[in-house]
Amino acid sequence: MSLATTEVSTRGEVAVRSVDKSYGTTQVLHEIDLDVAQGEVLVIIGPSGSGKSTLLRTINHLEKVDRGTISLDGELIGYKVRNGKLHERGEAEILAQRTEVGMVFQNFNLFGHLTALQNIVEAPIHARKVPKAKAQARAKELLARVGLADKADAYPRQLSGGQQQRVAIARALALDPKVVLFDEPTSALDPELVTEVLEVIKDLAKSGTTLIIVTHEIGFARDVADRIVFMDGGRIVEQGTPRELLANPQHERTKSFLSKVIEPAFNI
């Protein structure tokens, strides 16, 4: 079963161009340039505070950029060009753009007072005006995909962390997004629950949807990534295929980071 119901020629091409972002006086992103091809699985790694999550959040305009542009399939996210200036888009347009980009959070952020099924159908019905019956059928299909067909009526607190994150993934997919962003999807999970979530993401990686994943799971990155980007201090230090970057890092900073996160016995 393919997760993307319709295949369009350009679907999920992300282009980040010289993006700067500061919180007060601290600059968290410096001149970020990044292209993600359609269907590519891009993994971003790096130490805490390196700007990985911030970069991810600018892609669906949860964070505004100070300078530079981000576009999805050639359309600027959050801004419009008019008379040589970038004008912020209206609320309705920004919301419409966000439905094209799915996001999975570190802490799942499932709506606690809604069942798994209600969590999934909320956005299709109210952001996309999908008929209720159709949205529910699709939600059940997605729950089955993530192996939780029997949990449709469970509330998030009745589910384990791994199950909650799988529901959250199903919720992100319900809008049939062009790109799915994962913000440390396994960081809040017990080690034994990490695998079930990673399996779902791996399955998704084969489906041809563009994925951008921030993670600390180096082993997973090596398995699933088409390309790994290493960030530090708000800059992209280096990038390459998993084999290039993990086995043969060029920069000192990358080497020292990898030596800390990869156990000595770990064989690449």
């Binding site: 609320e91 996001m103 959070f105 709506f111 007072h113 909320e122 956005a123 952001a127 809008l175």
Partner: protein
């Protein structure tokens, strides 16, 4: 080490069937001597454990609770006795007036005022809370100013000002400001009745307070919930009403019910407008009959009845909004009672079925 340990001995722990070398034999002898000292300790402690496992569990005894219960019951009995036997309470008069037509009409007015100004106040409060939390500096400062004004002036003054608006502005004109174009013109005194002044005063005052209560509730909802809803492209109003508000309700409800119960009794302040709600009616009666204490009791008992009904409602409404916040909902008092009379299994099913309805 227990002194009994020496009683148990290990005859021959190592019975190896494979041929042994001389060295093995030496090692075995060493092990034998070791196990002879270690083994006895293990065996008796196991027997003790299995004995403990068969013991009955006795719940902690709270003798002082019983003493306390007796003391409290004694005090309660004393108070009840004095209430019933003291002739100054004039229970006969209380009974006579309790369901009198004028009292019931006053009660109706009290309930009407509470219902209208309570619901309008909280609705306006919700909008004010959203305005206050809005990123728009215009909305936020308008909301702040509203709360500031209505919280800093006494309700009594507000009510009198609304009622006497006709003194300040004889007519109210709908038209274009600073021109003579007029669409409609009203006499203020005909527009602002006692009821209108009471509702206006109570509603606006209630809105100012409930705005803060609702804002507090909204702030207690995890920011991640709003972020997730935003990332899913859910429109702002839907985000507030469907995602944030139901989860904020858990924090809002206890204080909100405080406010509503306060409002039930707070409506008595509109007696200054000579508006015939419960308290004003009672005053009118006792000024005539001089039976002050029993008439105050009549009003008090009605206020207690309303508050009790609201408290029960509060329990069930809070329970409704704890859906999803608790793994399983606790049984209601009724279910507890039923469970007390039926078996354990029956209690379990009754809880589960009621959860499905909620």
């Amino acid at each position: 080490m227990p002194p009994t340990s020496t009683r148990v001995t290990n005859p021959d722990p190592v019975q190896d069937t494979t041929p042994e070398t001389a060295l093995d034999k030496v090692q075995n002898t060493v092990q034998n001597t070791e196990s002879e000292t270690v083994q006895p300790v293990v065996t008796p402690s196991y027997t003790t454990d299995s004995a403990i496992a068969d013991y009955k569990v006795v719940a902690a005894v709270h003798p002082w609770r019983w003493v306390g219960t007796v003391v409290v019951a004694g005090i309660a009995a004393a108070i009840l006795y004095s209430l019933i036997t003291n002739p100054r309470w004039e229970w006969g008069v209380v009974a006579q007036w309790f369901t009198a037509e004028s009292i019931l009409r006053g009660l109706g007015q009290t309930l009407k005022l509470t219902l209208i100004s309570g619901s309008l106040g909280f609705a306006l409060g919700f909008v004010l809370a959203l305005m206050r939390l809005s990123r728009s500096p215009l909305f936020s400062s308008v909301s702040w100013t509203f709360s500031w004004i209505f919280r800093s002036t006494p309700l009594l003054v507000q009510l009198l000002l609304w009622y006497n608006l006709g003194y300040l502005y004889e007519t109210i004109r709908l038209g274009v400001p600073f021109t003579s174009i007029t669409f409609a013109e009203f006499q203020t005194t005909s527009l602002i009745s006692q009821f209108a002044a009471a509702v206006l005063g109570l509603t606006l005052n209630q809105a100012a307070y409930s705005a803060e209560i609702i804002r507090g509730g909204i702030l207690s909802v995890d920011q991640g919930q709003i972020e997730a809803a935003t990332a899913l492209g859910i429109p702002r109003w839907r985000r507030s009403t469907r995602i944030v508000l139901p989860q904020a309700m858990r924090a809002i409800l206890p204080t909100a019910f405080n406010e509503i119960i306060g409002l039930v009794k707070g409506t008595s302040i509109v007696y200054v407008l000579a508006y015939s709600e419960l308290f004003y009616t009672v005053q009118v009666i006792y000024n005539r009959t001089q039976q002050v204490l029993p008439m105050l009791l009549v009003a008090t008992i009605w206020y207690i009845v309303i508050t009790s009904v609201l408290s029960v409602a509060q329990y069930y409404i809070e329970r409704h909004y704890s859906r999803g916040a608790l793994r399983t909902l606790p049984p209601t008092p009724l279910q507890k009672l039923r469970g007390f009379f039926t078996t354990h299994a029956a209690t379990g099913t009754s809880i589960n079925s009621s959860k499905g309805q909620l």
